[in-house]
C-alpha cells in the first residue's frame, strides 16, 4: 500500500451537504468533530456515529464515517450496541437537547454507569429545532413559543450536575462560538477511555438565538479547578450565574468493553462449544 497522506478535517466530510440553517451552532460542532478526527487521524472505516432525530441528529450523514440516524432519543443505546459489538470502533454519539434530556433522558445515567466508551456530544440549543421551536427541557423559564404561548412555567434542567451525579467518567461543556476550545474538548472526549459527555451550547438561529446570551455568560473554568474533584465540579456546574466551559470532571476507570472482555477472559474454556453446552443437558 502507498504511504497514507495525512487526513485533513475536510477529508472527513462525506460530501452530503448539511441541511442546517446558515449560522446554526451545529456547524461549529461539525467542524470540531472534523478537526478532532483529523488530529487523531482515525481511519474513516473505524469511526461510527450514532444519532437520534433532530436538526443535530442529521449529523452522521455529513461525516465520512459509518453512521446511524436512528429513532428519536435512543442514540446512546444504539451507540452502546455498536461499541460493545465492535470495540475497535471509535464511537461518537450526537444529538440535541430534546433527544438527550427529554425523550432520551433515561439513558444517560446507564451509559455513564456502564462507562461505555463513547463520546456523547449534545448540541444544546435549548429548543426543539427540527419541529420548529417548541420549548425543550433546557429552555429558559418564561420562554414564549407556540407551544408555550403564555411562557413556560417549568424550570429548565441543568444537565451537567445531573450527569456529574451519575459519576460519569468525563464531563465537559463547550460553546459553538469557541470552535477551537470545542475541537479540543471533543478530541479529549474521544481520547478518554470510557463514557465522555460533552454539552455544547449550540444556538439555534431560527428558533432561539442565544449567541449573545452565551457570549456574555460563558467563561472557561478557572485554572485552579481540579477536574478530579467531584465536589468542585459540582460547584461549578451548579453555578447559576456563569456558564463555565471546559472539562468539569474526569476520572480513569475501565470501560465497559474492557470490563466485558475481562469477563470473557475469566470464563474462557479451551474447546468449549455449543455442542459441549448442549450435551450438558443430556438426560
Amino acid at each position: 500500500m502507498a504511504e497514507q497522506a495525512k487526513l485533513t478535517p475536510n477529508d472527513y466530510k462525506s460530501g452530503v451537504k448539511p441541511i442546517w440553517c446558515p449560522g446554526c451552532g451545529d456547524y461549529a460542532v461539525f467542524n470540531g468533530v472534523l478537526t478532532a478526527l483529523s488530529t487523531l487521524q482515525i481511519p474513516f472505516h473505524q469511526i461510527s456515529i450514532g444519532s437520534g432525530i433532530g436538526c443535530s441528529g442529521r449529523f452522521p450523514a455529513f461525516v465520512k464515517s459509518f453512521g446511524f440516524h436512528g429513532v428519536h432519543g435512543r442514540a446512546l443505546p444504539l451507540s452502546t450496541g455498536m461499541k460493545m459489538a465492535n470495540p475497535d470502533l471509535t464511537v461518537l454519539t450526537v444529538g440535541g437537547d430534546g433527544d438527550a434530556f427529554s425523550i432520551g433522558g433515561g439513558h444517560i445515567a446507564h451509559a455513564a454507569r456502564r462507562n461505555v466508551d463513547v463520546t456523547y456530544i449534545v448540541m444544546d440549543n435549548e429548543i426543539y429545532g427540527l419541529t420548529k421551536g417548541q420549548p425543550s427541557p433546557t429552555s429558559p423559564l418564561g420562554l414564549v413559543r407556540k407551544a408555550s404561548p403564555y411562557g413556560t412555567v417549568e424550570q429548565p434542567l441543568n444537565p451537567l450536575p445531573m450527569v456529574l451525579a451519575t459519576n460519569a467518567s468525563f464531563v465537559a461543556r463547550g460553546f459553538s462560538s469557541r470552535p477551537k476550545d470545542l475541537a479540543a474538548l471533543i478530541q479529549k472526549g474521544i481520547e478518554h477511555k470510557g463514557f465522555s459527555f460533552i454539552q455544547v451550547m449550540s444556538p439555534c438561529v431560527s428558533f432561539h438565538n442565544t449567541y449573545k446570551h452565551f457570549r456574555s455568560v460563558t467563561k472557561p473554568l478557572p485554572e485552579d479547578h481540579d477536574s478530579s474533584d467531584m465536589n468542585s465540579a459540582m460547584k461549578y456546574a451548579l453555578d447559576q450565574e456563569t456558564v463555565w466551559l471546559g472539562i468539569f470532571f474526569e476520572r480513569q476507570a475501565p470501560s465497559y468493553d474492557e470490563l466485558q472482555r475481562g469477563v470473557q477472559e475469566k470464563v474462557h474454556k479451551e474447546g468449549y462449544d455449543v455442542e459441549t453446552l448442549v450435551r450438558g443437558f443430556l438426560r
Binding site: 443505546p77 444504539l78 460493545m84 474462557h268
Partner: protein, 577 residues
C-alpha cells in the same frame, strides 16, 4: 397393571420444594429412558402460595400435558381440594396424611403417607419431599438407582451429606409405599421403548438460548420480564464463554436499540421479551425495517393485555407481531411449535434476519418457555449459517448501501470495512443512504424493500419450516400455530385411531404466510379447524385476510394450554356434524 403413560400432579405450598421434587421425579423418569413433559402454575404471592407441578411420563414420545390425572400427590389440604376434580375415576391420591385429610365422599383410591412422621423419625424434617418422592418412585416403579443418582445430582450438589439424608428419606418413602400398597394395584409403567438414544431434558427457553448460540448469536441485550427472563439469564452465563456480550439494558427500548447497534456493527444480535416489551420495541422495529438491520426478537407470550397474567400462557401477540409497526415495512414472523423446535427455529430466525436484512420476530409462550421436555439431541448439521451479503467495495466508487436490486437485498457493509462507510437511515433515503423525500425515490425504495418479502417467501419455502400431522388430505384440516402443536398432534392421532379423517398443518413461518402450501393442504377439506389460545382468533383472522380462508375456531383464553382431550372432543364434534 402396566401403563404406557402416566400423568402425575403435585399440589402444595410454593416454597416447600415440591416443584423441585416434581422436577427430580421427571429427571429420574427421563434418565430411565422415559419421555417426560412438565407443566406447572405459579402462585399469586411473591413467595408462598399454592402451586402445582404436573408431570407426564410416557414409554415413548409425549407431546402434551395430558388430560386427566393418574396420580395426584396432595402435600396439603389445598392440594387435594384444588385438584381432585382432575383425577381419573381410576386414579390414585397419594397424600401427606399428617397434613391433609381426604373427605369421606371421595371415591378414588388413596394412599396416605405420614410424611411428617417419617421425616421426623429420620431426624431430618426437611426430608418430607424426598419421602413423598420415594413413595411415588415406588408406586410407579421407577429404578431406585436412577433415583439416587438424581437426588445426589440435585440435592447433593452442595453437600453430599444432605444428598445422603435425602436418599435415606426417599428409601423410607419407598418402603412405606411398598408396605402399604398392594403390588397388583401399583401404577407401574411399562419399560421405556428407547433407553439408548441421546436425549436432552430441557425447557423452551433453554432451547431458544442454545439455538441462538448455535445460530451464531454473539450479542444480546434484554430487560427482565416474565416469562422471558431466563433466556437473558442463560445468555448472561454462556455468551461470554463464546466471546459474546450480554447487556441487561435499562428498559426494552434501550435493549432493542442496543441490538440494532450491535447488528449494525456486525454481530448476530437478539433480544427476548414478552408482550409489553414488544409493544415498547415496536417503534424501533419499524426503524430496523426501514434501515434494513437484521435482528431477532423473541416474544415469549404471556396473557395480556397489559400486565395481564404474567405467569400464564397465551397466543395473544400474533397481531402485534405481524402488524405492530407504524407505517409499512418488511419483517418476518416465526413461531416455535414445541421445545425441540425452539432450538431449530432460532437458526431460521437468524438466517432470515441476516439474509434478508430485516427484523425477525419469534413467537414462543409461557407454557413452552417453562415446560421441561425430553427431546432428541440437537442435530448441529441443521444449524448452517447463511451469511449477510457483503458488498464488494471498489476503489474510487462510492458504496451504495441501499442499492436497488432485483431480489431487494442490498449488500451491507460492516463498520470496520475500508471504503464501506455509509449512514444507516431511519428517514426514507436514496440508495447511498442520504435522506430523500422525493416521490419517485420513495416508490423505488419501498418496492425494493418489499421485494425482499417475495424473496423471503421463495427462499424460506425450502427451509424445512412446515410440519404435517395425520392425513395429508384430511376431511378435517387443522391449521394451528405454535405451542398448541403437541396437544393437537396427540388429538389427531387419537381421532385417526377412531377412523376420523383428520390432519394438521403447522408452519413456523407466519409472515409471510405460505399461502400456497396451506391452500394445497386444505384443498379437499370439508372443514378447516383453527384452535388458538386467544380470544379473537388471530390466526384465523390472519388466514382470512391473506387467503380468504374461512375456518371454525376454538379459542381458549383462560391462561392454560390446551389439553389433547379438549381438541379431540372438538374434532369429534366436527366429524359428527
Amino acid at each position: 397393571m402396566g401403563a404406557n403413560d402416566l400423568v402425575i400432579r403435585i399440589g402444595g405450598e410454593s416454597g416447600d420444594g415440591y416443584v423441585s421434587t416434581g422436577d427430580i421425579l421427571g429427571r429420574i423418569a427421563a434418565s430411565s429412558g422415559y419421555d417426560v413433559y412438565t407443566f406447572r402454575t405459579f402462585p399469586a404471592e411473591i413467595l408462598g402460595g399454592h402451586v402445582m407441578f404436573q408431570l407426564r411420563i410416557d414409554v415413548e414420545k409425549v407431546t402434551s400435558r395430558g388430560d386427566m390425572l393418574d396420580v395426584l400427590v396432595a402435600t396439603n389440604q389445598e392440594g387435594y381440594e384444588k385438584h381432585h376434580k382432575d383425577l381419573h375415576e381410576t386414579g390414585l391420591i397419594v397424600y401427606d396424611s399428617n397434613s391433609a385429610e381426604i373427605p369421606a365422599e371421595n371415591t378414588r383410591e388413596k394412599l396416605g403417607i405420614p410424611v411428617v412422621d417419617i421425616a421426623r423419625k429420620l431426624k431430618y424434617p426437611r426430608g418430607k419431599n424426598a419421602v413423598l418422592l420415594g413413595a411415588v418412585v415406588q408406586l410407579i416403579g421407577l429404578e431406585v438407582e436412577e433415583a439416587e443418582t438424581m437426588i445426589m445430582r440435585r440435592w447433593g450438589r452442595k453437600s453430599a451429606a444432605i444428598g445422603e439424608q435425602n436418599i435415606a428419606a426417599m428409601r423410607a418413602g419407598m418402603a412405606y409405599a411398598a408396605e402399604n400398597w398392594p403390588t397388583e394395584r401399583q401404577f407401574r409403567l411399562e419399560k421405556p421403548h428407547d433407553t439408548e438414544s441421546e436425549r436432552l431434558v430441557i425447557d423452551g427457553n433453554q432451547a431458544i438460548s442454545m439455538g441462538a448460540l448455535a445460530a451464531g448469536c454473539r450479542f444480546y441485550a434484554g430487560y427482565p420480564i416474565t416469562p422471558a427472563s431466563s433466556v437473558m439469564e442463560f445468555m448472561a452465563k454462556e455468551l461470554p464463554k463464546f466471546g459474546g456480550v450480554m447487556i441487561q439494558a435499562e428498559d426494552e427500548i434501550a435493549a432493542i436499540n442496543m441490538v440494532v447497534g450491535g447488528s449494525f456493527a456486525g454481530k448476530r444480535s437478539m433480544t427476548a421479551t414478552s408482550g409489553p416489551g414488544v409493544a415498547l420495541m415496536s417503534e424501533t422495529l419499524g426503524m430496523a425495517s426501514m434501515a434494513e438491520i437484521p435482528l431477532v426478537l423473541v416474544d415469549v407470550q404471556r396473557v395480556g393485555p397489559s400486565t395481564g397474567m404474567p405467569t400464564k400462557t397465551d397466543q395473544g401477540d400474533l397481531n402485534l407481531a405481524i402488524y405492530g409497526m407504524a407505517g409499512e415495512g418488511p419483517k418476518v414472523v416465526l413461531a416455535a411449535d414445541n421445545v425441540e423446535d425452539c432450538f431449530y427455529v432460532m437458526s431460521a430466525a437468524f438466517n432470515a434476519a441476516e439474509r434478508f436484512q430485516l427484523p425477525v420476530l419469534v413467537l414462543s409462550d409461557q407454557d413452552l418457555s417453562n415446560r421441561i421436555q425430553t427431546v432428541p439431541l440437537f442435530d448441529m448439521s441443521r444449524m448452517q449459517q447463511i451469511p449477510r451479503v457483503l458488498p464488494e467495495i471498489k476503489e474510487g466508487e462510492k458504496y451504495l448501501r441501499y442499492t436497488v436490486t432485483e431480489n431487494g437485498i442490498s449488500p451491507m457493509s460492516i463498520p470496520g470495512m475500508p471504503g464501506g462507510n455509509y449512514t444507516a437511515e431511519s428517514l426514507e433515503h436514496k440508495p447511498m443512504g442520504a435522506p430523500s423525500h422525493e416521490p419517485d425515490n420513495r416508490i423505488t425504495q419501498m418496492n425494493k424493500r418489499f421485494r425482499k418479502m417475495e424473496t423471503v417467501a421463495k427462499e424460506m419455502a425450502d427451509w424445512n419450516l412446515f410440519k404435517y400431522h395425520g392425513e395429508r388430505k384430511p376431511n378435517i384440516a387443522i391449521l394451528g400455530w405454535g405451542t398448541s402443536e403437541g396437544a393437537v398432534t396427540e388429538a389427531v392421532s387419537r381421532c385417526q385411531a377412531k377412523g376420523i379423517s383428520v390432519g394438521a398443518f403447522y408452519t413456523n413461518l407466519l409472515l409471510p404466510l405460505p399461502v400456497d402450501v396451506i391452500a394445497e393442504f386444505v384443498k379437499d377439506a370439508k372443514v378447516v379447524f383453527v384452535p388458538e389460545l386467544n380470544y379473537t382468533g388471530q390466526y384465523a383472522n390472519w388466514l382470512r385476510s391473506q387467503m380468504g380462508l374461512e375456518s371454525v375456531g376454538y379459542y381458549r383464553y383462560d391462561g392454560l394450554p390446551f389439553t389433547a382431550g379438549e381438541i379431540e372432543a372438538e374434532i369429534e364434534k366436527l366429524a359428527a356434524s
